[in-house]
């Protein structure tokens, strides 16, 4: 009688044993031990610095508790976190900043749910989220005190510029991609030149141009606030890169798709919105998520043209004499904020990529 539980001869889903993975040959054992001991040494020092010897709170709000300590002085975060997260937003109104950021985060999480993956739903979701954010932050209605965008700061400003840039950039990217593929040579060539020019310039030069040159070349009524010009510059930069992602997604489609749609008598708009773009987006999803990740990191560049975003507010948090020695802690905190956002987004991208690959086998 044969047992039904005979193990398969080779099961790719089963991982080889720990011994095989780390210590299969003498040389491997040596390398593993060296690597592990280096890792252990670094981890131990990190642990003693960040946790065991750290000072977490400062009862009187001054930096005296951190004199002569060997570990991290997290008290600086404890006293200054409001400055880092909210900038100079009025203290008693900071709950609005919190809610506004929360709204964007919730919208971002919701748009990861496949149920929302149609253009009208995603669009509505993001416009609603952004409107909530803007109403909460700008105020002036529902009895909220009005605050100008120039008073916004910290993480809230970063989130605002990012969300607004993506919201404007995505439709622009689709338009640019379609224009570059247009069969009217003049439109296709001009758009191509525009996209390639923007792509070969550094983002900071574009932001700088938006902040400084646009006011010179625009009539008075179109100049608007500096922050909006910078957001449009940011959105254009994103759109130029994203347009190329979408275009390569379109080009990866078999020609038969477009031809079949044409043969059915669909008009250009029907072909594009019902046949081409839905499939192109599926192809372009991995590079698009990657572009979202890169763009979030690039929002930090606005510090150079004088905005008080999360890095600048971090600098202000340790910059005022009293806490000047605690710069490492502040930078680690800001880096962790970025890390949480960027890492979760890129993990989600990797998950999506695996999910999409399943359908192809």
């Amino acid at each position: 009688m044969t047992s039904l539980s005979t193990p398969l001869p080779f099961d790719p889903s089963r991982k080889p044993s720990l011994r095989k993975r780390f210590f299969s040959r003498p040389m491997d054992t040596v390398i593993s031990l060296i690597g592990l001991s280096i890792a252990a040494w670094v981890l131990w020092h990190l642990l003693t610095w960040a946790v065991l010897n750290a000072v977490w709170t400062s009862p009187d709000g001054t930096s005296d508790v951190c004199r002569d300590i060997k570990g991290a002085c997290w008290a600086v975060i404890n006293t200054r976190w409001r400055l880092i997260l909210f900038g100079l937003f009025p203290y008693e109104e900071q709950w609005r900043s919190t809610l506004a950021c929360l709204a964007i985060v919730i919208v971002a999480i919701l748009s990861c749910v496949p149920k929302f993956w149609t253009a009208p739903r995603l669009g509505l979701l993001w416009i609603a989220g952004f409107a909530t954010f803007y109403t909460l932050m700008a105020g002036g209605v529902f009895g909220l005190k009005a605050t100008a965008p120039s008073d916004w700061g910290g993480l809230t400003l970063t989130v605002f510029i990012y969300a607004a840039g993506m919201l404007i950039g995505m439709p622009t990217a689709i338009a640019l991609a379609l224009m570059r593929r247009s069969d009217l040579p003049l439109i296709a060539k001009t758009t191509g030149l525009f996209i390639d020019t923007i792509r070969s310039l550094p983002l900071i030069t574009i932001l700088f141009t938006a902040a400084l040159v646009f006011p010179l070349a625009l009539p008075q009524m179109l100049i608007g606030d500096k922050i909006w010009r910078v957001i449009i510059g940011f959105a254009l930069f994103f759109a130029a890169y994203e347009a190329e992602n979408i275009r390569s997604g379109i080009q990866a489609l078999p020609a038969g798709q477009e031809e079949a749609a044409r043969a059915l008598g669909l008009t250009y708009w029907q072909r594009t919105t019902r046949v081409i773009l839905p499939q192109a987006f599926r192809n372009a999803l991995p590079p698009t998520i990657n572009q979202f990740v890169i763009s979030f990191k690039e929002t930090s560049l606005i510090v150079i043209i004088g905005f008080f975003e999360v890095m600048a507010s971090g600098k202000a948090a340790y910059g005022s004499g009293d806490w000047a020695f605690a710069w490492v802690e502040v930078y680690v905190f800001v880096a962790m904020i970025y890390f949480v956002f960027v890492f979760s987004l890129s993990r989600y991208g990797a998950y999506l990529e695996r999910r999409l690959r399943v359908g192809k086998h």
Binding site: T197, L201, P202, F208, L216, L301, I304, Y331, Y338, F339
Partner: protein, 388 residues
């Protein structure tokens, strides 16, 4: 009247004409408005300011520059700084990237984990934050009197001190030019079809000859250009409260270089890793069965195949890294962008200076892409070599 829209040809013509008209209107309107605004603010336009003296000094320069130098020279200084930082940064990022990629594709899982941790940490934090962090770290180092030292190097709050040579700047430039020309000659010799009929035995000889001539000419240039009454080698040493001799590399430059190497290295590592994974198993097995040593399998089979497979992606990454030199302004390094930004503040010629800035980046980035794409075409794998 409306019947002309019935013709497809006419419709296309009208659409393009309308598009052109909109573009001309937008650009024309912007130019008109800019002229009006400039006239209203009483500013002059034109490029005469390039010959005016700047009146301020800057921190990092590769060629002579004083407050009496012109704006034109200032811009050249900035361009050279950007090129210098960009080239060194890309080379270092490649080295870091290759090491991490080897760790990530190694058979030993400990090394894989270490490589992954490196990438996940440094790729997910903005480069500007890293640059500012390294800069803060470097400026918080002990003063020259208590500088960290070893291997003839000094690391203090005033920067990094390297051993150097007592030679004039011009001869050093000639030296690097000789090396560069020799490198180009070697590349041409290796890739051009004209030399492909040279027998293999003589190829090695010719290669050595080119390298020797390049190095020899460079050495002669260095020897001729030495500063009289000094020893050729200039070692940094502590004298009084400061470090004398040697080459001082400013903390701004070191911070940016480290940030470029670490952040760019993390991206390049992932690209090279993808290249290693694309090399077919059969290629490696064939090489092993021919009796090649592990090092030969790596350097003669896996690395060249991987490099060729990912060169197009690498080119994009190089262009991206080159653009990242503009972060110099965040730590006070006088790169091309920082120089333009200062000039706009001082001279006020916003439009002209922004034009120079954009033109500069367009020319540099497109030439990087052009040259490397030619290299890519020359060494790209023909046929189906990449299949396993």
């Amino acid at each position: 009247m409306l019947s002309i829209f019935a013709s497809r040809k006419a419709r296309r013509f009208v659409a393009q004409a309308a598009f052109l008209a909109v573009i001309v209107l937008v650009i024309g309107g912007a130019v008109y408005q800019a002229r009006q605004n400039i006239a209203a603010q009483g500013m002059t336009s034109g490029f005469e300011f390039l010959t005016r003296a700047t009146g301020f000094d800057i921190g990092f320069k590769l060629i002579d520059y004083t407050p009496y130098s012109s704006y034109g020279r200032l811009i050249v200084v900035g361009l050279l700084n950007t090129l210098f930082l960009g080239i060194l940064g890309i080379i270092l990022a490649n080295v870091v990237g290759l090491i991490i990629a080897i760790l990530r594709t190694a058979r030993n899982e400990t090394l894989n984990i270490l490589g992954t941790v490196y990438i996940e940490i440094f790729r997910n934090i903005p480069m500007i934050l890293q640059a500012v962090f390294w800069y803060a770290l470097l400026t918080q180092l002990p003063p020259p009197k208590q500088a960290l030292q070893g291997f003839g190097l000094f690391l203090s709050s005033r920067g990094l001190y390297l051993p150097g040579l007592n030679v004039t700047g011009g001869s050093a430039a000639v030296f690097f030019l000789c090396l560069f020309v020799a490198l180009i000659a070697l590349t041409i010799f290796a890739t051009s079809r004209r030399f492909s009929r040279v027998p293999a035995a003589r190829r090695g000889l010719i290669r050595w000859a080119i390298a020797a001539i390049g190095c020899g000419l460079g050495a002669v240039a260095l020897y001729l250009g030495r500063i009289p009454d000094t020893s050729l080698l200039s070692l940094p040493e502590l004298r009084g409260f400061n470090i004398r001799d040697g080459i001082r590399v400013s903390p701004e430059f070191v911070a940016l270089l480290v940030a470029m190497a670490i952040y760019g290295g993390a991206y390049i590592a992932e690209i090279i890793r993808a290249g290693f994974l694309s090399v077919g198993k059969g290629q490696v097995e064939a090489a092993q069965s021919l009796g090649l040593t592990p090092w030969q399998v790596f350097s003669r089979v896996r690395l060249p195949l991987a490099f060729r497979a990912v060169l197009p992606t690498l080119i994009n990454q190089y262009v991206w890294l080159f653009k990242a030199t503009t972060l110099g302004i965040a730590v006070g390094y006088t790169d091309f962008f920082a120089v333009i930004s200062v000039s706009i503040n001082q001279a006020g010629q916003t439009l002209e200076l922004i034009g120079i800035l954009m033109l500069g980046f367009l020319v540099i980035n497109n030439s990087i892409a052009f040259v490397l794409n030619r290299v890519n075409k020359a060494i790209a794998l023909k046929g189906n070599q990449l299949r396993s």
